[in-house]
Symmetry: D2
Subunit: 309 residues, 4 copies
């Protein structure tokens, strides 16, 4: 058995001198206020142990990482019909690009670009008021993390709504193609709240554990999804989880992962562990600079890459 | 130990009634002549055993699967500098799209779209005449497959050259950006010959074995690449190996793979086996219809998906 | 002197058997209710005489033709600084395309595509409440037409607002680039009301007369714009007035013109006359099918093409 | 009657202090050698008089201006069927863009972008060897200019061929869609030779005179095209003659025109005159900087804009 604590301590030591690298997302005013000189990492193994280093107990805005949980909810509700309204292919463009939507008649490329996640929100809302859908997501994340203390940061949600013109554009554009069924304001209300989920690395690594363990959280004993669905969500994370840096992440890290502009990344080592890293500075494709570097070190030292021992 | 022969027999039985599904590539006249009602599969395990079923000993045109071997050669020659001239991201568009090249100044998205493979050919040619580069590739494929009987089908190469206007367009376009260093005719001569490699499923599964086994072919004892490079090539195959169907293949099969319009697919189960399937009919994104179905069955029955046991 | 009444009678006779050609715009519910079998034409010469035929006294929704009047207002307010926020080039794409906006950082190609007209509305609004800006436009159109009976059809404005998702997308998208200064809802309120101007051919031909007469309406004696500005607006109408059918219209008709999806077209024969035609059925690029045909006949019979006697 | 000599003298005086503005095209080595500090202008009226100023008797490479003559030839041969293979709409993109071709299945937007002119060359070649087609064009230009001394500069043609990768890309791309009927090398041979026509402003203004005079050259008495066709060619020049600066040229100058990267512009004032200007420095959309300025002055002083007296 590997000494994971030792490994993540080493990673933490390697990252400390680099604190502040990258550029904090500034288009969401609340996120721009974050101190960039933070780094946290948490690893939860399928055996149920959690190892942490650095700022692993500081809550941060998980932003797009929430797309993984929303997709899981949507698949639970609508099954494979989800794929009638959103694709499963890498986008080949930026996270908020609208060009592809025009070319492909309002069907987003995948559930992990903004447009796709907005459609997923619309699917999760079926039969619900926005407030109920937000509540449902929050309870679901608390459930998979087995932690009722997780909250949504309403200041962040409000901040996103006030400046989210691009997302309003995407949503209205899809609505013009009939690919949103609820009012744009309602869907984006849900969308902005999911982005504003605040979690620590420690909570996040536990919340992702079901994906590393054939759909079942070994801590709580909850079966969240089937083994097949867990694999498929992992596949989507690997091919589409880092926007237009997905290929690069697969090349260097070799693990399914999902990043958020808050500087967090959730990575899954199937059969091994769930990993959460966080550091606010982003590289030029919008993924945590130190987070990516830390995960590359981790994959190298553990041999957890899915592409070969 | 799983009974692989049993599994592939079952797959073969399931495919026989579907023979003829899909559409044979007809833009290369020589390929259009192939009898579509063929299906072969070969699995070579890292222990060195090869299992076959169906038309596994019939040679077929491997076409774009050769891009894996050319990339391996180019990385051997130029190392990571390869990535100065070609990207590592999924393209989000068709295999022969030129749009992306205009937007991104002649740098192809990845080495597995046509434009990228043409640049890779240009890299492999450094210091060589076209004939020498073709010879070098053929010897390399014979070496990794440990089989000197593998040949290039010159009729196919000639047929591609006579109708390869789109590839001429891509090559000239990149040359206009300075991203080809040799004359277009020479580079495409090499490119068309690599596509015309004729191999059986059995040969192909053995040729890919080094990628499943940390860079070393256990049959011949040859170390082809480092373990790290093997992982990285697998990562590229997973994210970019099936053109605009790569996400779908990852979702359903969960293995690194590379398809060719001749109807072949090479798939890698890291630490387990190298697999080759072949059936000429293509689905609408240009990958073997029955080949994809067979690999999905295989992944399900063996549990070899990289995304979870 | 040509007998214009005779010519437009002949045109009317030629159009009657074709009534109903084309397809009525159905994405705006109120417009979809219009009887397609209508055709009207009015010609107002620079000498001040108006000739009419067919349904020239039936009010119709002028839709995008209003963009000419809004641009005139905006140029009056902001002068050539208008061009800092909107281009002057044909778009090479559909009237409601968003792709170009992404590529060109939120600056629309010209004031006659929807995005451009929305920016123009934003410019006209400077220092005004939406209601005031709408009032200002209405008074301006009444002034140039010298007819106080012209109204805005609020049912149409409301109908457009309820289904105008694409325009909401365009506006939010531009706002995300900082190229809208007022709230999206306000700007679109103004935009939808201008589109809902209801005018007859007779009113419209008189309203356009200043453009045919060096900026001065000879009927009212009002100087609306300078001679140079009139020429420039005509130039924009010729290169950009018919969306992606502008080249075709110039080729066949040879007059500056602006079409609307209500089936109207305003055409200017500089130094000669202002012409308005109306027939609801649209051709495949969104311009009135019979209106275009009628104007081609008119240009042929009068020799008014700007491209040669 | 205006004193045209006086006007062009004034224009010449205004341009002299600005000699050297803009940037000489350097992607064709032969053109890069030209002294940028040159400016010439020639006006030939429909009455048959030619007025010149500056370097109006210095031959220069007319480059894309030749597209007007080739289109005239092609229309003479194939009539309106030309439009089955090339569009008539402004492109909304750069002169050598390939993106539009992919989106629109190999049909170029108009005959004045490179791709369109290559198709036009293919049409003119029907039944001819390249050498014959080149000879035919040269004789045609000599005929419309009524001047047998006009030649093709073979050094320029050779220079373009050696560096014309982008044009090779365009041609091969269209060939892949079946929109070129002759071998790519042959068509481009013709294309590069037409671009290499060397003419003086004085010769060029006379060569364009038929377009200003209802299709007939009043100097030679030759009827080159019908009055209708002359109008239509003028319409195409106005909407598409200056690449992605066509709208701007119409706005400021208001005359049909065609520019070339050699720094020449041919402009037509229907019923009035044919004008040729030349100055090698190009503005950022690829049109002669001083040439454009000179034509704006000319249009202002003569009132020849087609958009109003």
């Amino acid at each position: 058995m590997q000494d994971i604590q030792l490994i993540i301590n080493r990673i933490h030591d390697a990252m400390v001198p680099r604190l502040g690298e990258g550029k904090v997302a500034d288009y969401i005013p609340e996120l721009a206020k974050i101190d960039p000189k933070q780094f946290g990492i948490a690893v939860t193994t399928v055996e149920g142990e959690t190892f942490v280093a650095g700022d692993a107990l500081v809550p941060f805005s998980i932003q797009s990482i929430s797309k993984v949980f929303m997709l899981t909810l949507a698949l639970g509700k609508a099954g494979e019909t989800v794929w009638n309204r959103v694709g499963r292919e890498p986008s080949g463009s930026a996270f908020n690009s609208i060009v592809q939507l025009e070319r492909e008649s309002g069907i987003p490329r995948n559930p992990f670009v903004n447009a796709g996640a907005i459609v997923v929100s619309d699917i999760v809302m079926a039969g619900h008021q926005p407030r109920e859908a937000i509540g449902e997501l929050l309870r679901f994340v608390q459930y998979v993390a087995d932690d009722d203390s997780i909250i949504i940061d309403n200041a962040v949600a409000k901040s996103e709504n006030a400046t989210g013109y691009r997302n309003y554009a995407l949503a209205n554009f899809m609505r013009s193609f009939g690919n949103l069924h609820h009012p744009v304001e309602h869907v984006l209300g849900v969308y902005f709240h999911q982005c504003a989920l605040a979690m620590t690395c420690s909570q996040l690594s536990r919340a992702g554990l079901f994906l590393a363990n054939q759909g079942r959280n070994p801590l709580s004993g909850h079966t969240v999804v089937s083994a097949r669905r867990a694999k498929r969500i992992n596949a989507l994370m690997l091919t589409c989880g880092h926007y237009d840096g997905s290929g690069d992440f697969a090349y260097h890290v070799g693990l399914p992962g999902k990043s958020g502009v808050g500087g967090g990344i959730l990575a899954i080592a199937p059969g091994k562990a769930s990993i959460a890293v966080w550091s606010p500075g982003l590289n030029k494709v919008g993924n945590s600079a130190l987070g990516s570097a830390a995960l590359e070190m981790l994959a190298n030292e553990t041999g957890w890459s899915v592409f070969g021992a």
